[in-house]
Amino acid sequence: MTQMRAMVIDDSRAMRMILKRIVTKLNFDAVEAGDGQEALNLLADMTEVPDLALIDWNMPNMNGLEFVTNVRADPRLREMTLVMVTTESEQSQIVRALAAGAHEYVIKPFTEGAMIEKLALLGLVPTGANS
């Protein structure tokens, strides 16, 4: 099985640590970025595109929605699964993010179980796998 890769994009270091801990437990290699621009810069230098990005909405420099729009406009990044992870929880915001090309949306606060269930919906975690 090829190594799965995840990118964790959040301006809060504490939140990045939580997300990184969860995806690492699910056997992803994880890289971190503090905002959308930093994430795009990292992606530009990568030879292998990550399978998954977990993306905060409110960040300095480039917010999560702009990041999603940029990724969707780049054919090289077509295979990336994009999940918003944010306190933005108005219905209209969720609709905007999905319309921009996000695949899933997790509202903070989230439990570890809820995050894993969302990734299972996206086929990134085998359902019912215990190990």
């Binding site: 809060s12 270091r13 504490a14 939140m15 640590m17 939580i18 801990r21 409110n58 944010t86 306190t87 933005e88 929880s89 108005e90 209209s92 903070k108 606060p109 989230f110 439990t111 570890e112």
Partner: protein, 162 residues
């Protein structure tokens, strides 16, 4: 323009419970036990400001020890390993999460500031011209923790005049 804000103590308590369930007490064995004591002491606090359709602040305040334990639980480390940076980051994120959820209940057009963390009691920094509209006060792991919501009274005056 008059804006009716309905974020009561039950709403706030429910959000707080969700934060505990998600990060601070996933096993459900160490909840925040309510004291209803608005004057309980704090040693550190964090806050986010909301502007736009509603103006005010969401404040998370606790003892230093409670903040250290919160950081340890949040970051899955031992309390002794928690650095000042860890403690500050987690305090900021807790205010941000509660603030973000409060914002979702406000009329459209509300904006959330970045969190501010102050390693001093909440009472040292009472926000000027504000009134408390709801709060959750409790003891967590034997230590005081509170989450409160303050409405900027300049906005109040506008409402009265509207």
């Amino acid at each position: 323009m008059s804006v009716e804000v309905e974020v009561n103590e039950n709403d706030l308590a429910e959000m707080v419970e969700q934060v505990w369930e998600s990060y601070l007490d996933p096993e459900g064995i160490n909840p925040l036990i309510p004291t209803y004591d608005e004057n309980q002491p704090s040693e550190v606090h964090s806050s986010v400001s909301i502007t736009g359709s509603w103006t005010g602040h969401i404040v998370y305040a606790s003892s230093t020890e409670a903040a250290r334990r919160a950081a340890a639980a949040f970051l899955a480390m031992e309390a002794e390993e928690v650095s000042q940076e860890d403690l500050t980051d987690v305090l900021g994120e807790l205010a941000n999460i509660v603030g973000g959820n409060v914002k979702a209940m406000l009329p459209p057009g509300a904006f959330l500031s970045l969190p501010q963390v102050v390693l001093a009691p909440e009472s040292s920094a009472r926000f000027p011209n504000t009134t408390r509209i709801s709060g959750v006060y409790g003891i967590w792991d034997g230590e005081p923790v509170s989450i409160s919501m303050w409405h900027s009274s300049s906005d109040n005056n506008q409402e009265e005049g509207a």
